[in-house]
Amino acid sequence: MNEYSVILFHTTSSVMQTEKVLKQEGIAVKLIPTPRELSSDCGISIRFNKSDREKVEKIIEVNSIEFDSINDLN
């Protein structure tokens, strides 16, 4: 079974911006309703494979994307 991580955001526009950039970099992503247990600001979050976490963090930093936090899903 895949293990996932989730990025939380403050705005939907940041979700869209990040989805686009990650897809361009070939990262498999899925937009999901923000898991309530992570208690978020924005209704949508981005889920990706945990194994991509380092790459994703790097891409987010390079593109100076505004986000709340990155969390591993149990």
Binding site: F9, H10, T11, T12, S13, S14, V15, M16, Q17, E19, K20, L31, I32, P33, T34, S39, D41, C42, G43, I44, E66
Partner: protein, 382 residues
């Protein structure tokens, strides 16, 4: 029928604009950013895509600084009412539309000082009039890019350059220029740009926005409207994140889908091609109308210095009579009167009677222009 009222709103709209609006309701009818399901996400993607197109179209680096509004009036109100405080000084011109003048006059009652740079009888702004008014106490300079009465283009780049020497931001009302002439926020030094989607951008009514350049500290601009944004829902305070700070309430999603398609349509043709056609029509209109002895044409007579808007009157005839005859007898649709711009008409010498305004666009042909000139000639001789 010949539609010559594109400065009021453009018509027709490209088919792909109408198709995009229809498809939006079929394929992405969710509320962007509110729910996590596929229709909501599709809507959010569409809006973000349009945001990026708008940013690229006007050369703004950060697309999250594109704020969607119902049009330029709301965008201008957002800046003026959100930014100016009692005691502040603001400079504007004598060619402004009421979208600028009315909020300013209202703020004047609350103690804001308005300084008006007088334009000449052709509607042109001599940069020295701005130089005389400007000093570091000025909080904002507001200027329209092209007049909705005479089409006259104002020297935005020069005004911005002088304002920036004093550290003063410039708000540009691009209602009549966006889609008609090139607008590059970086190159022209525009700090705040208000645009509407339904005029020369050929998009739907109820669309437009405010573009905020990176140098503007948004904490200096209070939101005009507060409410739900789909973000930071646990707080009862308005979020500070962009664009949400200024985008409360459900967006005009179908309209934005249409605007997105209209930008594609214009990008395919390119502003230089749109401009070339506009200049040809404007030259012909000004020449043809000026040839009629009874006709007086207002504003600058140089098509390079204007967008395709030509205002005229006929000696001893009221503008309403002329407009009515052009519609009834010739099927030519114009707008007569003061065009929501009393200041501009006073500057051009056409207040309070107003003018008959002709505003062709990309869908008009040179034959339309010739027929219009002939119709005006007949009305003048009648």
């Amino acid at each position: 029928m010949i539609y010559m009222d594109n400065a009021a709103t453009s018509w027709p709209k490209p088919d792909m604009v109408i198709e995009a609006m229809k498809n939006y309701y079929y394929q992405a009818g969710g509320n962007p950013g509110r729910s996590g399901h596929r229709l909501s996400v599709n809507g959010a993607r569409m809006m973000y895509e349009c945001r990026e197109k708008v940013a690229a179209f006007f050369n703004l680096k950060d697309s999250l600084r594109v704020i969607f509004t119902s049009g330029s009036t709301q965008a201008i109100n957002l800046v003026l009412r959100g930014m100016l405080k009692p005691g502040d000084h603001v400079i504007t011109t004598s060619m402004e539309h009421n979208a600028v003048m009315r909020p300013l006059r209202r703020l004047e009652k609350a103690g804001i000082n308005i300084h008006i740079a007088e334009c000449n009888r052709e509607g042109e702004l001599d940069i020295s009039t701005i130089k005389k008014l400007i000093d570091p106490s000025v909080r904002l300079v507001v200027i329209n890019h092209a007049s909705n009465v005479s089409g006259t283009i104002l020297p935005v780049e020069e005004v911005a350059s002088i304002s920036h020497m004093f550290g003063i931001p410039v708000l540009v009302d691009a209602s009549q220029s966006a889609g008609s002439i090139e607008i590059d926020m970086e190159k022209m030094g525009i700090d705040l740009l208000a645009f509407t989607g339904h005029k020369e951008l050929l998009g739907p009514t109820g669309t437009g926005g405010l573009l905020i350049n990176n140098n503007i500290d948004v904490s200096q601009i209070e939101p005009l409207v507060c409410g739900g944004t789909g973000s930071r829902s646990e707080y009862e305070q308005q979020p500070e994140d962009l664009p949400d700070r200024y985008e409360s309430g459900t967006a005009n999603t179908a309209g934005i889908a249409g605007l997105s398609a209209s930008l594609d349509w214009i990008n395919v043709r390119g502003i230089p091609a749109v401009r070339e056609h506009a200049e040809k029509m404007t030259i012909k209109l000004i020449e043809g109308l000026s040839d009629i002895k009874e006709v007086k044409v207002y504003g600058v007579k140089n098509a390079e210095q204007s967008v395709p808007i030509v205002s005229f009157t006929i000696k001893d005839k009221t503008v309403s009579e002329v407009g009515f005859k052009l519609d009834e007898e010739f099927g030519i649709l114009t707008r007569v009167g003061l065009h929501c711009a009393p200041a501009a008409h006073k500057t051009l010498g056409s207040f309070p009677e107003g003018t008959v305004r002709l505003s062709p666009n990309i869908f008009n042909t040179m034959e339309d222009i010739e027929s219009t000139i002939e119709a005006v000639r007949e009305v003048a001789l009648s």
